[in-house]
Subunit: 372 residues, 2 copies
């Protein structure tokens, strides 16, 4: 991506004219109090995560803190957990209406409002986190994402990654396609639609309510994120089986969304700070998830004797076929969705052979027979 | 990593006292011209890469440009290609001696000066890029790295990743361990030492000289980076075979190093800008490499009919054993190296099962039979 082009497209180049006036001893002294660089912005960031929730909530906190530090306090962001200022799944509308200037969430929650956005969190059986980032930053993904959100007056940034997610916690064993029939499972986005087409009953409920829903039998199964978050929720106490791999979210991107009018008020250097802090947050959150998923998986296996299972190939193949059909259907819905799908597929065809001879081959060199 | 602790350990907290004086209308007007925030720093960044070289040189350029933008021109960095201001492999000494305030390179080039640093670029048969970043940012890696460079008066940051690297270009076929005997190959760092122990003759020459060395028979083989960079050098024209995977560099971290005294002169917000811009550069460069390695691999196969080969298992197992022994030997050399190895291994034991049930399983779900 050409960053200068991006700044020009979304920024206020003219606002920076005063930036250096204060440092100029020959300039009018009155500029000092009014200079653009010393103006302080106080913004709200609403999130879809429980406050301080590991990886997701804390990732949003660190992003806000980072922007504060980089701007030397000129852009101060107060973070709200899900349901504190607005409900967890109203982050998009809150930013659109400027109830909050900024939001931290995942695009698949907005399938009813901006269905094309789902691609930017990744799709079932799709790209790994690393591959997805290649598309977003270098393959034209971010430009398409901006096009999807523009009619809503929202500017999107990739601002995190949970990495690959797990297949979920189950109180019913899945040994065949037939076992998916009637399965009441919390699974949002495309994964949920695929389950519906396979005969299940997908629901989406906020993370904070999952444990009770699973324990009381309101749902038979739930996916959430991975060991790190699942351990924190104690989901292993409410379910018999833990399935892997998570076919539906191979490398989920998180988003930071900003109200376009609020964005336009920022001087160019603060815009650059937000943009780069979001990009740093991608490495930060993915590192957090990678490290802590490892730590939590070990605890789940060693201390809580969690029963790891594997979806049979028959089930994965069935879900994979439904997924391919679903995504192709989406692509035919409108021009923009068609262009996103075409871009996504063209990149996917290019990156998969590379991943196959690099990361996949390297990971397969390892002798971890227990899990292989 | 606790960022506040890091800033406190390496920063100059006292220098920020004046930061907000200019914006305060009641403060003395004279502060405006002298405020810490308007002081401009002009730094040199020396690199080990040919100027503007894809991914490596351009990654360094983008990092410098990003710091310039975020700081609104208060920290201006001029980038020098390898051999422009100092030779490509004297970046470490140049930063140590403050010939340049900043350098962009890879730790394994300094095996003669700071051998323990090699771990932070990753080790043969070791962690993927994503796993390595987890260790550096969350597993204590960065703190150990700072300890390695502190006696040299250098502050390190992870500032990029090439992702997994390829096994190299060969004019001799490798069908057995015996074929490694006498092999003259450009391969730096630990990979080179492993080849030496396997009977080969490793050399390290700068990238710009590789094509000629391979074409004239000065060397039998060379690794460089991956399709993206190898295509740019035209290495396919000088060699018969292209081997994969690159056992020796499974996810190479790049570094930004800063002279400690120069670092100490920066106000706290500029230090934060450097730190976060470096972290963003990790996402940026890995995305660049992932996207463009895919594009270049397709060209190498479709347009240049490159002959891809695979090292036999016998060869990989042999190199793997030598590697394990070498790394254990290194660990016994001194206390710090021992602690780094212990940290690296402990994390590796934790993260590998996680990668196995997540990324590895997901990548193996894909049906790319040609390459699998």
């Amino acid at each position: 991506m050409d960053r200068r082009k991006f700044v020009a497209a979304t920024g206020l180049a003219g606002a920076t004219g005063l930036l250096s006036a204060c440092g100029n001893r020959n300039g009018p002294q009155v500029e000092c109090g009014n200079q653009t660089t010393s103006e302080t912005f106080k913004w709200k960031m609403v999130t879809s995560w429980p406050r301080d929730f590991p990886g997701l909530g804390t990732g949003a906190n660190r992003l806000a803190e980072s922007i504060n530090q980089l701007s030397n306090g000129r852009l101060q962001i107060k973070v709200y957990g899900g349901n504190e200022l607005v409900p967890a799944f109203e982050v998009f509308d809150a930013v659109k209406q400027r109830t909050a200037e900024m939001g931290h969430s995942a695009t698949y929650y907005w399938k009813g409002k901006a269905p094309a956005a789902q691609f930017f969190a990744g799709i079932p059986f799709g790209m790994s986190a690393q591959e997805l980032h290649g598309w977003i930053y270098y393959g034209g993904g971010l430009e398409l994402w901006r096009e999807v959100y523009a009619p809503h007056g929202i500017v999107p940034f990739l601002a995190g990654s949970s990495g690959p997610q797990m297949g979920g916690w189950f109180n019913r064993e899945i040994n065949s396609v037939a076992d998916l029939k009637g399965l009441k499972m919390r699974i949002p986005g495309l994964g949920g639609e695929i389950l519906r087409r396979a005969g299940g009953t997908p629901t989406n409920i906020p993370g904070a309510e999952l444990f009770t829903a699973l324990q009381t039998g309101t749902i038979d199964a739930t996916e959430w994120v991975g060991p790190y978050n699942d351990l924190a929720f104690g989901l292993f106490r409410a379910a018999k089986y833990y399935y892997y791999p998570g076919w539906h979210e191979p490398g989920t991107g998180l988003e930071c969304i900003i109200n376009q009018q609020a964005w336009n008020t920022l001087p160019e250097d603060l815009q650059a700070i937000v943009r780069v802090a979001c990009q740093a947050a991608v490495t930060d959150t993915l590192s957090d998830f990678t490290y802590n998923n490892g730590v939590a998986l070990k605890k789940l296996l060693d201390e809580h004797a969690v029963d790891l299972r594997r979806f049979p190939d028959e089930v994965l193949n069935h879900l994979g076929e439904i997924s391919d059909n679903l995504v192709r259907e989406m692509a035919s819905e409108d021009d923009l969705m068609g262009r996103i799908y075409a871009s996504f597929q063209a990149y996917s065809d290019i990156v998969r052979p590379w991943s196959a001879i690099s990361d996949r081959t390297l990971l397969n060199l390892r002798a971890d027979p227990l899990i292989r």
